[in-house]
Symmetry: C2
Subunit: 405 residues, 2 copies
């Protein structure tokens, strides 16, 4: 009689977005004439840039012709894309990453959640709190997190690193030494950035302790300040202690296109074993490459025309984020983020919980955001709004919130 | 200090295709004027059908327009595709599979290798021998296979079910009871098919023993005989003991397009836990959907025009397979497969190993195939040729082999 992986049974229900969905549905039913503005989820709304559309049309045509048809892709991804990534994202910033250290995939979510397979089940994981739930949940499924305490919303074997107003949403080095450290900067959900000097401290710490940093740089394109690193490899020594994940979802609007990549430097060696070889083996055994058409779309992201168009797209979303940030600050809210990230993280009014603020905002303004407590215990008292809506809706939402008084 | 998942270290090198690659490179270097014909790997060569190309161009245009742009896809896949799959692949065959039991993905390889995550590490796996290496390797990585014996090429805790000339390449029920049974029909690499009655025996066995069948139907489109089932759900009772994997790679030429789906019936319950819920949780946590454009391409596969075009494409490859099969039979070879599958499985001449035949064929005919022993110990003495080349090359290859005498 087969048996299941009972780690799955330990997972609490994914209440956050389903609860939001139910509350919004109920509201819509009761208020059929009220237009609901959704600034909750991190999905983009702007169409793909013309240069990307053009590249995909050309690639589709190639697939329709025997002479230019493409079957199985090379295991690490097409050379044309890996070379473009290296030039655009690393060489341009003085980082030494080679094309054969880039693994093209269908998105950072898959890579972020699959990477833990390379490590021993006994390794201790550290995460920021609040945090993107995928890092923790993928480790729960693998049996690496101990037991769940529903009262605190915490796992017994996970090291939580609070990111709060007090520390500028940048965690302090943990007291207990972790093996695997998940960092995401610019951060989802807080919208905070990390400076180069601060990140260097983490790199030094990891190298000293023999820990590995799993660095999620999904929101890198939104960085506006000089002292904020675009990649962890801007820090000295990162090649021996860090894997980096990159998404095309937010810089190029690829949430429905699906493309990402992971950098596994060849200098990452653990007990004589190359993590690059391990990830290559996983890629070869359990994955079959991103579509040719999509890899051509990715290449267009790095073209001169593509860059210019995407710069505008990012500016559009950042204008929204600034509008939210400034509008709410003007209305007396304490707001964070929105400078190097498309997320605004606001403090809910004193005396309210994140969920109470959610209900209030939906009921009185018809605006949907995300309660901070949904991202972890230290998110309580905060609320996330995103700049990914349309400019018109964002303006309307801010106007409605300001009117609440 | 972090530690690696040491199960990866147990994996023997993936010598098969790298060894083939090296041998071919050396041959090409020594024989610069000889045209090498590759009938080794299972990649397709025909361009995508016009109806699919048209659907993708339309979808690309939609992505370029704010009103029709698509961000994150629904977790299980778009309704339009899941409905088309249910109608085309299940209702048409009298099978009761609902759209919410279909999980759209970027290919059967990912699903086949990820599915084992749902099960306990102690579960005993049974595989056919010879076999597609992904089933075993993904279980090795998870620590489910015991120790490897290099002499026999077998893992201590895996049940191998020999598929040989004697049993018509259809395994007999194993003596030791397995928990998870991988079956692939029509089969890669042997090209053998299973009859409905034979498959029913496996379904009955699994239900009786409390085992789960993981059924890979990637080559279903190549079935030509009436008594061969297109899906395991043609068998009574399969909804309580089988998960099915389907690829678009071979029926629609999507090896470089990437689309597949997995059927997890809601009747699959283990100790009160729904496998459907578990797979949905995995999908939601570790995956972010197949691209919108590609899901539209998948929908076109089921259109009237698409079906007609793909029927021709499959016929093209099957004409190649028949040409190989008949040509080699005429030259005195014992050949199998090629009737319900694009693979021809031939016995190598007496006194030769699979690898010796490989070398001989390359050296004297400039034709590349795959040595059967690369797929498992019971593949020794056999050799795989595929119908996925061009018709012209296939004719040339057969002609050259016949001339060897």
């Amino acid at each position: 009689m087969y048996k299941i992986n009972d780690n799955y049974q330990k997972l609490p229900g994914s209440y956050l977005f389903s609860t939001i969905g139910k509350k919004v549905s109920a509201y819509v039913k009761d208020h059929p004439d009220q237009e609901v503005i959704r600034l909750g989820i991190g999905d983009v709304t702007q169409p793909l840039a013309p240069s990307i559309i053009g590249a995909m049309h050309r690639a589709v045509d190639e697939m329709g012709c025997a002479e230019t048809f493409h079957g199985y892709a090379p295991e690490l991804g097409y050379e044309f894309l890996r070379e473009a990534i290296v030039k655009g994202d690393y060489e341009a910033r003085g980082c030494h990453i080679r094309a054969d250290e880039i693994f093209v995939s269908d998105g950072a979510k898959c890579d972020c959640s699959n990477i833990q397979e390379l490590f021993h089940v006994d390794n201790v994981v550290a995460v920021c709190d609040p945090v993107y739930p995928v890092y923790v949940d993928s480790n729960v499924m693998a049996g690496r997190t101990g037991t769940y305490d529903a009262a605190t919303g915490m796992w017994s074997d996970v090291i939580y690193m609070p990111c709060t107003e007090e520390n500028g949403f940048c965690p302090v080095l943990p007291q207990k030494t972790p093996d695997l450290i998940y960092l995401c900067y610019p951060n989802n959900p807080t919208g905070a950035a990390i400076t180069r000097a601060e990140l260097q401290r983490w790199v030094d710490y990891a190298n000293e302790k023999g820990a590995l940093i799993l660095y999620d740089a999904a929101y890198e394109a939104y960085i506006s300040q000089e002292d904020v690193p675009h990649t962890i490899y801007e820090c000295e020594g990162a090649r021996t202690c860090a894997i980096e994940f990159k998404s095309f979802s937010k810089n190029a609007g690829f949430t429905g296109v699906r493309l990402g990549y992971t950098v596994v430097p060849k200098d990452l060696v653990c007990g004589g074993v190359s993590l690059h070889s391990m990830w290559a083996r996983r890629h070869g055994t359990k994955y079959n490459g991103a579509p040719y058409i999509i890899q051509r779309a990715g290449e267009a992201v790095y073209s001169e025309e593509g860059r210019a168009q995407l710069k505008e797209q990012v500016a559009y979303y950042m204008k929204n984020a600034a509008w939210i940030r400034d509008g709410l600050a003007g209305a007396g809210y304490t707001v964070y983020g929105g400078v190097n990230a498309p997320y605004v993280w606001l403090k809910v009014p004193a005396g309210m919980t994140s969920w109470e603020f959610f209900d209030d905002l939906l009921e009185r303004a018809g605006v949907v955001g995300t309660p901070g407590s949904g991202f972890g215990p230290s998110g309580e008292g905060y609320f996330r709004l995103t700049g990914f809506g349309s400019y018109e809706n964002t303006q309307k939402a801010v106007e409605r919130i300001r009117k609440l008084g």
